[in-house]
C-alpha cells in the first residue's frame, strides 16, 4: 500500500470500483444514483466478470416476485434455512443483513436499471425438503433474455460464458427435459437467440448491469489492473493501477470498492488460504486474489468458512476466449443414470446426484495414512449413458476422446487400465445395479434431493431420475480433477453491514469496501446454495454504493431494534 500521496492524480472519481462483475457494477451504479461520480477498473479486456460465467441464478428468500406468484416465503424462513446449514460458522448480524437487503436490492435494480428477473419455477433449494426453512420454489431467480445489441460498442466487450447455454433460460431447459436431455431442447429458439445475440443466464444478468453503467456514463476502464491502494494516513483515498505500460494514480474521493472475485487462479493462495492443492479453475485467468493483497496491506481481516473443492475435467481442444484451457465442472454429469463416481478401491463414497455430498466426501482424510480417502476419483459410465447423455461437450453419438476417457469392454479391464481395485469396482457396480432395479439407493440415497434430481438427473428415467444400471459395455472412466469453486471460496475479507473492510481491531477501514466473492461468507457460513453468490454481489454492491455516497442503509439497525424489542 502506498502511504504517500502521488504528485499527480491521472483520474479521479468519488467511487472507484475494482472489478466489473455484478458486485463492482452495482456499487458504481448505486453510488452514481446517489449523486456520486464513479468509475470501474477491469483488468481483462472484457467486462462482466465471473457473473457472466455463471448460470445467472440469484437466490433471494422473501423476494417480491415469488410473492406475486403466491409462493409462501419470508426472509425469516430463508434465515432459518441458512442457520440450519451454516454449521455454526455464520454470524447472525451478517445473515440478517443479507436477508433484509437482498429483496430491497432486487427491487432497486429492477427500478433503476430496468433489470428484469423471474422466478425459476419448480426449482427447489438444495436441501428441500430435508431441512427446515427450505422451499420447493420461489427463491431462485433468473434474468429474462437481454438484447445485447443494445450495449452498442460494448456488445462484444461484455463477457459471455463458455460454461452455460446462455441462449436458453432455465425454463427453456427444464421444460424440455433438463440438462440431461439436450437432444430435446428447442434449438429453433436457441438459434434465433444466438442470431439476435439475446443473452440469458449469467451473460444476460451481467449485461443488464453493464448497460446500467453505460447509461450513466460510468467509465469502464478495461485492461486496467489495480495494483495497490493509496492511503493518506487516515483513510483509503485511491488506487495505483497499470494499463499497458502506463502507471495510473486514480483518486477515490469517497472510497474504493474491491469486487474482484476470489483467488483461485493463483495456486499459492489456493493452497495457503483455500486449502486446495493446485485446483483447476473454470473462471478467467485474471481472478488472482488481488483483494487479499490490497486489503491485507490496509490491515483488513481475512475470515474463513468450511468449503469444498469441486471436481471437473478438460475436453481436449477447448479453451476460454483468453486462450487458457477450459475446465468444465462435473456437477451435472456425475448423478446421471448409468453413472457412478468411485475411489481407488472402486467404491462409491457419496450421493453423486448431490454435489455437496460428493465434494465433502472428496475432502475426507484417512488419519491413519494422512491421505485423501476418495481422491483421486473417477466417473464410471457405460454405453447406455453415452447413447443418451452428453458428457461436457461430447455429445451422444460422438466418440469419447482418448485424452478424456479410458474405454474398455469390461469393468475388470477398465479397472486394470486406470489402476483401481477391480473386485471392488465390480462389487460396487453389482450393488448399484440392484438399487437401480428398485429405485432405492440404500447406500447414498441418490434421487432423494429434488434439486439433484432436476439438475443432475433425467426426468424421463423411472423409477428414479438419478439411477440407471451400468450394464452395457463398453465402459468408460474419466479421471476427475480438483477444481476451485468458480469464484466461490472459503476465504475472503471480513466486512461490516455496509461492506466496509474490517481490520484486525474489529473497526471498519475508512474508505475501503469489499463486496461479493471477495468478502468472507459470514452471512452463510458453511452453507452454499446456487444463486447466493450473485445475490451477495448485487446486495453488497447496493449496500456499499449507498454508504459510500453517504446514504447508508439503516434497515439492519431498525430490524435489530425491532427484534430486540420482540425478544424483550
Amino acid at each position: 500500500m502506498i502511504r504517500s500521496l502521488p504528485q499527480k492524480w491521472h483520474l479521479e472519481a468519488d467511487v472507484v470500483a475494482i472489478g466489473s462483475g455484478a458486485g463492482g457494477l452495482s456499487a458504481a451504479i448505486t453510488a452514481h444514483n446517489h449523486g456520486a461520480t464513479a468509475l470501474v477498473l477491469e483488468s481483462s479486456e472484457l467486462v462482466g466478470g465471473v457473473t457472466a460465467f455463471s448460470m445467472g441464478e440469484v437466490w433471494i428468500p422473501g423476494n417480491h416476485l415469488a410473492t406475486e406468484l403466491g409462493i409462501d416465503d419470508s426472509i425469516d424462513a430463508g434465515m432459518e434455512y441458512i442457520n440450519n446449514l451454516a454449521m455454526g460458522f455464520s454470524e447472525q448480524r451478517a445473515v440478517l443483513n443479507q436477508a433484509l437487503h437482498a429483496p430491497v436490492a432486487l427491487k432497486y435494480f429492477e427500478q433503476c436499471i430496468d433489470l428484469k428477473m423471474c422466478v425459476v419455477r419448480h426449482l427447489p433449494d438444495y436441501y428441500y425438503p430435508h431441512v427446515n426453512g427450505s422451499t420447493a420454489e420461489g427463491r431462485c431467480l433468473e434474468a429474462l433474455p437481454f438484447a445485447a445489441a443494445s450495449l452498442g460498442e460494448w456488445q462484444h466487450k461484455t463477457r459471455v460464458s463458455p460454461h452455460v447455454p446462455y441462449s436458453l433460460t432455465h425454463e427453456d431447459i427444464f421444460s424440455n427435459g433438463g440438462l440431461a436431455n439436450m437432444m430435446h431442447w428447442d434449438y429453433t429458439v436457441m438459434g434465433e437467440r444466438m442470431a439476435n445475440d439475446e443473452r440469458c443466464a449469467g451473460p444476460g444478468l451481467a449485461a443488464y448491469f453493464v448497460k446500467g453503467a453505460l447509461q450513466r456514463d460510468i467509465p469502464l476502464l478495461t485492461g486496467t489492473r489495480a495494483e495497490e491502494l493509496i492511503s493518506d494516513g487516515e483513510r483509503i483515498v485511491g488506487v495505483r493501477a497499470v494499463r499497458g505500460d502506463e502507471e495510473l494514480f486514480i483518486k477515490a474521493r469517497r472510497g474504493v470498492v474491491i469486487a474482484v472475485s476470489s483467488f483461485e487462479r493463483k495456486p499459492t493462495l489456493s493452497r495457503r488460504v483455500g486449502l486446495m492443492i493446485e485446483p483447476k479453475s473454470m473462471v478467467m485467468d485474471t481472478v488472482q486474489g488481488c483483494h487479499l493483497r490490497m486489503a491485507g496491506e490496509a490491515g483488513a481481516q481475512v475470515a474463513r468458512v468450511p468449503d469444498v473443492s469441486m471436481l471437473g475435467f478438460h475436453v481436449p481442444g477447448e479453451e476460454q476466449e483468453d486462450g487458457v484451457p477450459l475446465w468444465r465442472g462435473a456437477l451435472p454429469f456425475m448423478g446421471l443414470p448409468h453413472t457412478i463416481v468411485v475411489n481407488k478401491k472402486g467404491e462409491r463414497f457419496s450421493n453423486e446426484a448431490f454435489y455437496r455430498s460428493v465434494y465433502f466426501g472428496l475432502d475426507e482424510i484417512d488419519g491413519m495414512t494422512q491421505s485423501y480417502k476418495n481422491f483421486p476419483c473417477w466417473v464410471i459410465i457405460d454405453s447406455q449413458c453415452r447413447e443418451k447423455y452428453p458428457f461436457g461437450s461430447v455429445m451422444p453419438g460422438q466418440e469419447m476422446p482418448a485424452e478424456l476417457a479410458v474405454a474398455a469392454d469390461s469393468l475388470a479391464e477398465l479397472a486394470e487400465k486406470i489402476g483401481i481395485n477391480s473386485e471392488g469396482l465390480q462389487a460396487t457396480v453389482n450393488r448399484f445395479n440392484q438399487f437401480c432395479e428398485t429405485g432405492d439407493d440404500l447406500d447414498y440415497q441418490r434421487g432423494t434431493y429434488p434439486w439433484g434430481a432436476i439438475m443432475c438427473g433425467d426426468p424421463k428415467q423411472t423409477p428414479n431420475p438419478n439411477l440407471g444400471s451400468l450394464s452395457r459395455g463398453p465402459f468408460y472412466a474419466i479421471a476427475l480433477q480438483r477444481m476451485a469453486g468458480g469464484g466461490i471460496t472459503s476465504s475472503g475479507i471480513l466486512i461490516d453491514e455496509h461492506c466496509r473492510a474490517v481490520g484486525w481491531n474489529e473497526q471498519p477501514i475508512d474508505g475501503l469496501y469489499v463486496v461479493g466473492n471477495s468478502a468472507a461468507r459470514l452471512d452463510n457460513g458453511a452453507l452454499m446454495q446456487s444463486g447466493i453468490t450473485n445475490a451477495r454481489g448485487i446486495t453488497h454492491g447496493y449496500l456499499a454504493g449507498c454508504h459510500i455516497a453517504g446514504k447508508g442503509s439503516d434497515l439492519l439497525q431498525k430490524a435489530l431494534a425491532e427484534r430486540g424489542e420482540q425478544q424483550a
Partner: protein, 181 residues
Amino acid sequence: MIAAEHSLVIDTAIDNVWHYVKDIRQWASLFPGCRECEVIDDNNSKWIIKVGAGGLVKTVNVLVTVEQWRGPEAVLFSYQLESEPVVGGGVYRAVAIDKNSTEITLQIKVEGSGQMAPMWEAMSKPLLPQMAKSFAGKLKNSIEEIYGQKTAMSPGPGWLAALRQRLKSFWLRLVGQKIKQ
C-alpha cells in the same frame, strides 16, 4: 442445413483471382481461425481451425475436399469435421465484370448429423454468415494487395452491385480530382 452466401467485387482480372485461389493453402491461410493446413494431395487437405462460439474456443480438425476445380469460374468443395458429426460444402464462383474487376460469390453450407444435429445447426446459424463474410473480405484484401488495386467491399450481389461499385469509384475519382485541382 444452414447456408450462407457472400458476394463482393475484387478489383483485378479474373485470371489474377484464379491464380491466387487455385492454391488451397491460400484459402486456409485466410480462413478465420485456421492454424495449420496440411495438403494431402491436389484435392484433399486437412485444416486445423480454432472456432470461437460463445466464449468457448474449440480446436477442430477439418478434412477439406475440392470436388471440382473449374477455374477460373468455380470451385466446388466439401468438408467434414474429424471428431464432430458435422459436414458441409460450398461453392466459390467468380465472374469477370470487366478486364480489371471480378465479382466473387462464396456459398457455404453446414449440416449436422445424428440426434444433436439441430444443436450444431443452431450454433452454426450466427457463425456461418460471419465466416463467409470474413473469409471473402480477407480474400479480396489479399488479392488486391498483390495486384495493386483497392476499393471498398460491396455487399450487393450480381452485376448490378458491381456496376454500382464501378460508378461510385468513378464518381469519387472525378470529384477527388476536381477538389485537388
